[in-house]
Symmetry: C2
Subunit: 333 residues, 2 copies
């Protein structure tokens, strides 16, 4: 068919085909009023035959709701916000709510523009998400808002975040359960909240088994490779496990260890973080890592927003559990 098809059938077309008045057709399709079942059925058949779809905007206007939620994201690259968005969309669509996407590209002016536009569209609520786990300034709108991944600085807001403490602790407990007793930690910049939180949880969980200081650098494979050189020079055979703050770093660690003739996990066990499949599965060997369960985080965010829209807000911080995924980098083949 051509891009521009015939115009939409109207309720008057349905009424004409069924041989009833427009108001009877409307009652039949909305299951209201007192009509004979036979009449209702005739109208329904006419609607089906014509491909009639009721205009949901009237319902929206009369109910004072738009059945629409806005999603504000600062994360154009999408690594973290995309799964959150898909989870939220999944939960919302089950309730016949539409998700409007607003990508601010980290531009405060763009964010203000989007907020005005969403309010003028009378969206029922807004989800705000970002690429960092640092808390952000709340947005100022007179409708329900839930923050996902990047929490609001205001504790009275509802924010849904990843339990990074639990995630990092789970890798350490796993390494200890495998008999590892000298664990080093290689991670991202000390200026990043996620790197600091994971490092602190690693130190706390490892206790006496922790070696040296957390090694902070870029979130990159290159830093992972370089960190291995630094670590082996300083501590050599003292280390039997390296827990990493990201899968990219862990993949670089594995590559460099292999190049130096060290076996993973026989000589050193390695763990990642994120369960980013393009890294975790392509790594040689594949990585034991922490899945952030971001789709589930998105679903939970949407549910909390639906609650708030229904006048049942849940102020405060919700920490979502992570999931440890074990693979060859700790278990061997």
């Amino acid at each position: 068919m051509a891009s521009r098809g015939p115009s939409l059938p109207r309720i008057t077309d349905v009424a004409a085909l069924a041989g009833v008045s427009t108001s009877t057709a409307s009652k039949a399709l909305n299951d209201t009023g007192q009509l004979r079942e036979e009449t209702r059925e005739r109208v329904r058949r006419a609607a089906e035959q014509l491909g009639f779809t009721p205009d949901s905007r009237g319902r929206a206007l009369s109910s004072g709701r738009s059945y629409t939620v806005g999603l504000i994201t600062t994360d154009s690259s999408g690594r973290f916000s995309i799964p959150i968005m898909l989870g939220a969309e999944d939960a919302l669509s089950a309730g016949e709510m539409a998700l409007v996407l607003c990508d601010t590209r980290d531009d405060p002016l763009r964010e203000q523009h989007y907020l005005r536009s969403l309010v003028s569209r009378r969206v029922d609520g807004i989800i705000v998400t970002g690429r960092r786990t640092e808390a952000r300034e709340p947005i100022d709108v007179p409708i329900p808002v839930v923050y996902a991944f990047s929490p609001s600085t205001d504790p009275a807001d509802t924010s849904v975040i990843v339990d990074d403490h639990g995630g990092a602790s789970s890798t350490v407990r796993h390494l200890l359960s495998l008999g590892r007793r000298r664990i080093a930690h290689v991670t991202g910049p000390a200026t990043h909240n996620s790197a600091r939180a994971r490092a602190a949880a690693t130190i706390e969980s490892a206790g006496d088994a922790f070696v040296g200081e957390p090694m902070h650098g870029e979130w990159s494979e290159r830093w992972g490779r370089h960190a291995v050189d630094v670590l082996l020079r300083c501590c050599g055979d003292e280390v039997d496990a390296i827990s990493c703050g990201s899968d990219q770093i862990a993949r670089g660690v594995c590559d460099r260890l292999r190049e130096l003739g060290r076996s993973v996990p026989d000589d050193l066990a390695v763990t990642g973080y994120d369960n980013w499949s393009v890294m975790a599965l392509a790594s040689r060997p594949p990585l034991t890592t922490v899945d952030l369960e971001l789709e589930e985080l998105g679903r939970r965010t949407a549910q909390l927003l639906l609650d708030a829209i229904a006048d049942n807000p849940h102020p405060g911080l919700v920490e979502m559990p992570t999931r440890l995924v074990t693979r060859e980098s700790t278990l061997g083949t």
Copy 2:
């Protein structure tokens, strides 16, 4: 602020604060009617003070338009559809149009559900995108539709696709310009349209410089590594360049060549495809590759849809140019 703020200020609140009638306030804010500039200004100040945002839904209903576009994607993983979506969103938001996200997860029932929902919301148009370059069955709705990345099987529809022939040819011309005369091609499954199209363009552009047959396998680093073993066993020193159908394959090719002591690009030049930064930049050496310019494809799709909504459809196939990005895997350091 709490999740549920105060209720939205209404036009009557603005009128009361400005000391005018509701109809005067409405005229002042809509720049209609005959009013003194002083009155208009007083109403504007009152609106600003109260944080009043006009309800755009009335305008939408009276104009017969919703200023909303639906985006149907089958690509939950998002590698290709996310940049397309962001480009479309960017072009649409400039025209005050909102983008509603519908992720079908490759489920035809879910797609039908979304189409009904979008039609009942009276979206002005729909963008359909997917993860494969194979043509897909058109959707049946009485509103404008434009297909992005995955074209419609109906030539009367508007479809915007990547010029894969041009993209693959550009890598071959680049290799020939560097003096390479024995080019092999390693790519994805022969059942994939994108792999076949890129292979055909490579053979055609390379002419006598093409070595052997296109090597089809998985879209993976593992296949890239394995293909090097096969290629060196069969053709050994006959090959001075390997053009790959994806960056993942090219990264595997580079890794295996390094492990075998072959220098890239001194012994063999390598090219990728996609300019997927996590692969192309992390590869050792970084990859010369083809950028699909998917954000631009998304923008063009949105513009064509806006044209169609304005009763100016452009039926047919639009092929978008790719961009060659040169890096160390062909140029050296």
